[in-house]
């Protein structure tokens, strides 16, 4: 569904584990071993207590729809209409994504609907996490 010109992110050392995870079908988050804060996006310091003692773990990939817009003008590599959404992961953090495998309409995209992660390979190095209605088509 995506053309070749879709924006491809450039990983940095502090985010490498995230992109390694998506390549392997895991949506990885970080958790502070001192204060137990779970956070995203990746960084080597806990945003709550500044501890450097943080671990990487695989999230459940389950989320709910927090908010979105439906773009009616395309970014490179996209066909309109397409949703640009923010989802709330079961573990707490939120992330931007696209909701796929459902009509891109306000009626189909209901706030708080249950979602699950779906991985989309852009290049050999980069796979992005998208979300689809939970239990929907594969």
């Amino acid at each position: 569904m995506f053309g070749s010109k879709r924006h491809v992110p450039t990983p940095t050392p502090d985010t490498a584990h995230f992109w390694e995870g998506t390549r392997n079908g895991e949506l990885r988050l970080q958790r502070c071993k001192e204060c137990k804060e779970t956070y995203f996006p990746p960084r080597p310091f806990c945003p709550a207590c500044h501890s450097r003692d943080v671990e990487v773990f695989a999230s459940s990939g389950k989320a709910t729809l927090y908010s979105y817009v439906i773009a009616e003008r395309p970014a490179p590599g996209f066909e309109t209409p397409y949703s640009i959404a923010v989802v709330e992961l079961e573990e707490g953090p939120r992330m931007m994504t696209n909701i796929v495998d459902c009509p891109q309409t306000p009626e189909a995209l209901e706030l708080d609907m249950a979602l699950e992660v779906k991985f989309e390979e852009l290049t050999d190095e980069i796979t992005v996490p998208l979300f689809k209605p939970e239990g929907g088509q594969a």
Binding site: R6, T15, E72, R73
Partner: protein, 382 residues
């Protein structure tokens, strides 16, 4: 009411506005700066502090023949100029300089010497990796994302959002320099082209060329200038997150709340004391977030407040009386035009002049709810 000890003694917009084909971004900064220095009855030799956003204060000082003792190149988006006013007030109080020029100019439409909106030519590492891959193409697809959550939470309708644009067009009709002046209806807004659901074209700001500049000095000198002084009484600033997806909560802006509370506390006033309000309207929901965060309405009540015409001509809280970014102009960093209209209202010279304005608030946003700045001003003498 408290005073910061600083006053705005010069204020002007760029000579042309809308489409300026023959000036670069720097050139528009200089054009506006020259106009503001003239408005204050000063010469370059009188200016010893320079602040600007997106272009370098070194460039502006050099090009205008100013020998600066103080420079501020703070750029946090469209509210940068509210931050400059705050920083300038502190610098003047500290004796670091005596007379500050703050300039803004952008070639948002013509893109002459364009350096990117808000001076940002590229994505940050985080935006590149965690927002850009999802088809964002600028503020209409990012600034707008919190709106649906907030609308659902408080039962806000698209008709109410549309009323923001309708009411502001009524103000714009009185301003000869406004880009759009013809009246519009809620139906016009809801039938305008869909850009990013739930936002329609007439709920989104303009893209134009223009600039503006201010001259500030210590309040005890303010009466020596040709125009009615505007005293700075309260200032605030804050930031939240460079990525809209990482806001604390989509029902409010933390940066708005922090900045607004600082400014009202410094001024020693409440929202009841405010006669006139300018709130940065990049999109129809932005001024509503400001009304709620600054405490002019309760949380979730701003949409009804505007739809009931409280901010319209004749209403109890005249707001965005130049027509705002939706109708007046929007070069990219609109905050300067909000400050200019506050100054005009306090001088009593706005084409949409409201009777008896003594206290005006200008509140700006930077980035996509990334930052905020608040300036409270009065024409009452200390």
């Amino acid at each position: 009411m408290n005073y910061t000890g600083t006053a705005i003694v010069g204020a002007a917009e760029s000579t042309e506005m809308g489409k300026i084909a023959d000036l670069t971004m720097l050139g528009i900064n200089l054009d506006a700066g020259i106009n503001a220095i003239k408005d204050a009855g000063l010469t370059p030799a009188d200016i010893d502090g320079v602040a600007c956003a997106g272009v370098s204060p070194v460039e502006v000082s050099w090009a205008l023949g100013i020998v600066p003792k103080w420079l501020d190149g703070t750029i946090v988006g469209g509210c940068s100029f509210m931050l400059h006013v705050r920083h300038a007030a502190a610098a003047i109080a500290a004796g670091h300089c005596s007379t500050v020029l703050i300039t803004h100019g952008e070639s948002g439409r013509s893109r002459v010497g364009f350096l990117g909106f808000g001076g940002a030519g590229r994505f940050s590492n985080y935006t590149d990796q965690f927002e850009a891959p999802y088809g964002i193409w600028g503020p209409p697809t990012t600034f707008t994302i919190p709106a649906l959550r907030w609308m659902k939470n408080y039962g806000i309708t698209e008709e109410q959002l549309a009323m923001v644009a309708v009411v502001q067009r009524e103000w714009a009709a009185m301003h000869p320099r406004a880009s759009y002046r013809d009246p519009i209806t809620v139906d016009d807004v809801l039938n305008s082209k869909i850009i990013a659901y739930p936002f329609r074209k007439l709920m989104c700001c303009l893209v134009t060329d223009g600039g503006g500049a201010l001259v500030l000095t210590s309040a005890d000198r303010a009466k020596d200038f040709p125009n009615k002084p505007v005293y700075v009484i309260g200032t605030g600033e804050s930031s939240e997150t460079p990525m809209v997806s990482q806001m604390d909560d989509f029902n409010y802006s933390r940066a708005f709340r922090t900045s607004g509370a600082l400014a009202f506390a410094e001024a020693g006033i409440t929202t009841d004391d405010v006669d006139h309000l300018m709130t940065y309207d990049a999109f129809a929901h932005t001024p509503l977030f400001a009304l709620e965060a600054l405490g002019f309405t309760g949380q979730g009540e701003a949409a009804a407040f505007v739809a009931e015409r409280n901010t319209a001509p004749g209403g109890k809280l005249p707001m965005n009386t130049n027509g705002g970014g939706l109708s007046y102009m929007h070069s990219g960093m609109y905050g300067m035009y909000a400050l200019q209209e506050s100054v005009r209202q306090l001088r009593g010279i706005s084409p949409s002049q409201v009777d008896g304005v003594e206290i005006s608030v200008a509140h700006g946003v930077g980035g996509m709810f990334a930052a905020a700045g608040t300036t409270i001003m009065t024409n009452r003498e200390p």
